[in-house]
């Protein structure tokens, strides 16, 4: 049971990453791989501030801002300096590796003895229910785990709803249109370059937030924790599409969160069955590959010509 609730909590934390990837890849159709750098950036900022005794909420907010800046730089490199989107992301991601090391001062910052959002959840749990285990429908769950899970669930729900509402505003619809048909929206008076920069900043802000929460959840920030994050986020979004379809905006947002959680569950099960943790990234990459190729392959089997990019996820 501890394994299950752990996987669920981790999945919910990584849904912030999935939402960020949803914005860049699906809404803006921009292949942004800054995530591999902005996630550990968020973790590094939060960890260093927490070690210095900064209020956890403030430290987490600072991580969000750090991601915001990283994404904005990728956006400016692409829109102002006309660097290819993928390359702009690679440049920022590579630079962030050094930046993250500079921020942390070493490759790993432990947070076991610091006051974090996780210890807030634990304290709240202790105040409400005391210490020990909780009996949930016959399952033993530690009160700490239950409250961490609850806190993350509330946070991601609020974030998801806010994101959905944002995309229904004038600004949000303009951003969606900028990703879908830049010529049309330019003719309607929107500065597409600004939209891309703003969208990427927002996307990486969420990813930085994911990094901060992840560090506080697992009790350390590590320079290596960003590797493969973009593929992980893509996997979540793809699973989300498969679960709920990409028909409407609300479903896409909910799907990304569900995809992230489901993916974590699958990983937990695979590890339980004896999958070597070292092979995890290989398996994830193969999974994303199959998910990208399958729609075209299936439609060819059905003797119909493939209708363009079926999943909506493709290079700009």
């Amino acid at each position: 049971m501890t394994l299950l609730i752990g996987a669920l909590s981790l999945g919910l934390i990584l849904s912030f990453l999935a939402l960020g990837v949803l914005i860049s890849f699906k809404i803006l159709r921009f292949p942004d791989i800054t995530a591999d750098g902005s996630l550990p950036l968020g973790a590094a900022i939060a960890a260093v501030l927490l070690v210095q005794g900064v209020e956890p909420t403030l430290a987490t907010a600072a991580a969000f801002c750090g991601g915001l800046i990283a994404g904005a730089i990728t956006g400016v490199l692409h829109t102002r300096f006309k660097i290819h989107g993928l390359l702009a992301g690679i440049l920022v991601m590579t630079a962030l590796y050094s930046v993250n090391l500079d921020i942390m001062g070493r490759s790993n910052v432990p947070l076991i003895s610091e006051v974090t959002l996780a210890s807030y959840a634990e304290r709240t749990g202790a105040a409400v229910l005391g210490h020990g285990n909780l009996n949930l429908w016959g399952w033993e769950v530690s009160i700490r785990d239950a409250f961490v899970f609850g806190g993350v669930l509330i946070a991601i729900s609020v974030a998801g709803v806010c994101l959905y509402l944002f995309f229904r505003t004038n600004l949000g619809t303009a951003m969606r249109a900028a990703g879908e048909n830049d010529q049309m929206i330019r003719a309607l008076g929107v500065n597409v370059e600004h939209m891309i920069t703003f969208g990427l900043a927002f996307s990486n802000g969420l990813i930085g937030l994911a990094g901060a929460l992840l560090a506080q959840y697992q009790g350390f920030a590590d320079i290596q924790m960003g590797i493969g994050m973009i593929v992980l986020g893509l996997a979540s979004v793809i699973i989300g599409d498969a679960l709920v379809g990409s028909g409407s905006l609300g479903l896409s947002v909910a799907g990304a969160v569900m995809g992230s959680v489901l993916f974590r569950l699958l990983v937990a099960i695979a590890l339980r069955w004896g999958l070597d943790p070292n092979d995890l990234k290989l398996v994830t990459a193969v999974f994303v590959f199959l998910a990208l190729v399958a729609p075209n392959f299936l439609s060819r089997l059905g003797k119909r010509p493939a209708l363009g990019e079926a999943s909506g996820i493709g290079a700009r």
């Binding site: 600004l171 249109a177 049309m184 008076g189």
Partner: protein, 270 residues
């Protein structure tokens, strides 16, 4: 309303693919007039429209709209003055967004876009009203994605979107060229309705001599990046399809003559 002076544009300069798309175009369009632009392929008629819309900056000359010099303004800033309908029905609309959302985008052309709801109840009300008048039966399908509609329907909606906020200048770039004859007819009729009702200043590029002869109150014929004929008033009203074709033929013959003469000279002297 529109003043274009001595516009020049060369694409791919100093390469094998060099194209002189605009070669000293002067065009002044008065408020409320409907100018039809015709020309052979590669004559620069679409380039003229794109130069005015700001899709690219001109190499030389000036463009002013409503008394304001916009030669150096980017496309999205000029959008404040200009409504556009493109040749390709896919270009003018966002396919995966609903009809209503597309209109919400168009309803704020040239305005600030903040955090207010895109789809207010006022807009929905007005939208239902105006879409009903199109007689396409779309007023009850405003929540559907625009990608589910036919090219003709999309083009009709794009026209309505382009004129939702009254544009100082409406640019129609062969907006019926990609449609089947019946839809093209419908869209042309809708264009006439809207233009005669709202008295919009319009620049319309067309490939159809039929449309060129019957629509608008002024006709501009382009060739090799220049305006070669400019028919107005009675002259435009008298123009028939045959006259226009004859003028094209004349251009073609003159060109052939030039080529034959050049060939002769080359043979004689080189």
């Amino acid at each position: 309303m529109l003043e274009a002076r001595n516009l020049a544009k060369t694409f791919n300069p100093q390469t094998a693919n060099e194209v002189r798309a605009l070669n000293g175009v002067d065009l002044a369009v008065e408020e409320g007039s409907w100018v039809v632009v015709v020309g052979t392929n590669g004559s620069g008629k679409s380039s003229l429209l794109n130069a005015i819309a700001g899709a690219f900056f001109v190499d030389g000359g000036t463009i002013s709209l409503a008394g304001q010099d916009v030669t150096k303004s980017p496309e999205h800033e000029r959008a404040k003055f200009i409504g556009r309908v493109f040749q390709n029905p896919f270009t003018g609309t966002a396919a995966n967004m609903s009809i209503a959302e597309n209109f919400a985008l168009a309803a704020r052309r040239g305005m600030r876009r903040g955090l207010a709801w895109a789809l207010g109840s006022d807009l929905k009300q007005a939208l239902r009203e105006r879409v009903r008048r199109l007689n396409l039966g779309l007023e009850d399908r405003l929540g559907n994605t625009i990608g589910s509609l036919s090219g003709g329907q999309r083009q009709a909606l794009t026209l309505l979107m382009a004129t939702w906020v009254r544009p100082k200048l409406l640019l129609l770039d062969e907006h019926t060229a990609a449609l089947d004859p019946k839809s093209a007819d419908q869209v042309i009729r809708l264009t006439e309705d809207i233009l005669s009702r709202d008295k919009l200043t319009t620049l319309m590029v067309t490939h159809s001599m039929q449309q060129a002869a019957s629509l608008g109150d002024r006709l501009v014929m382009m060739h090799r990046g220049q305006i070669i004929h400019d028919l107005r008033g009675a002259e435009k009203r008298r123009a028939r399809v045959d006259d226009l074709l004859a003028r094209f033929e004349e251009v073609r013959r003159r060109e052939q003559l030039d080529e034959t003469a050049a060939e002769m000279l080359r043979r004689a002297y080189v």
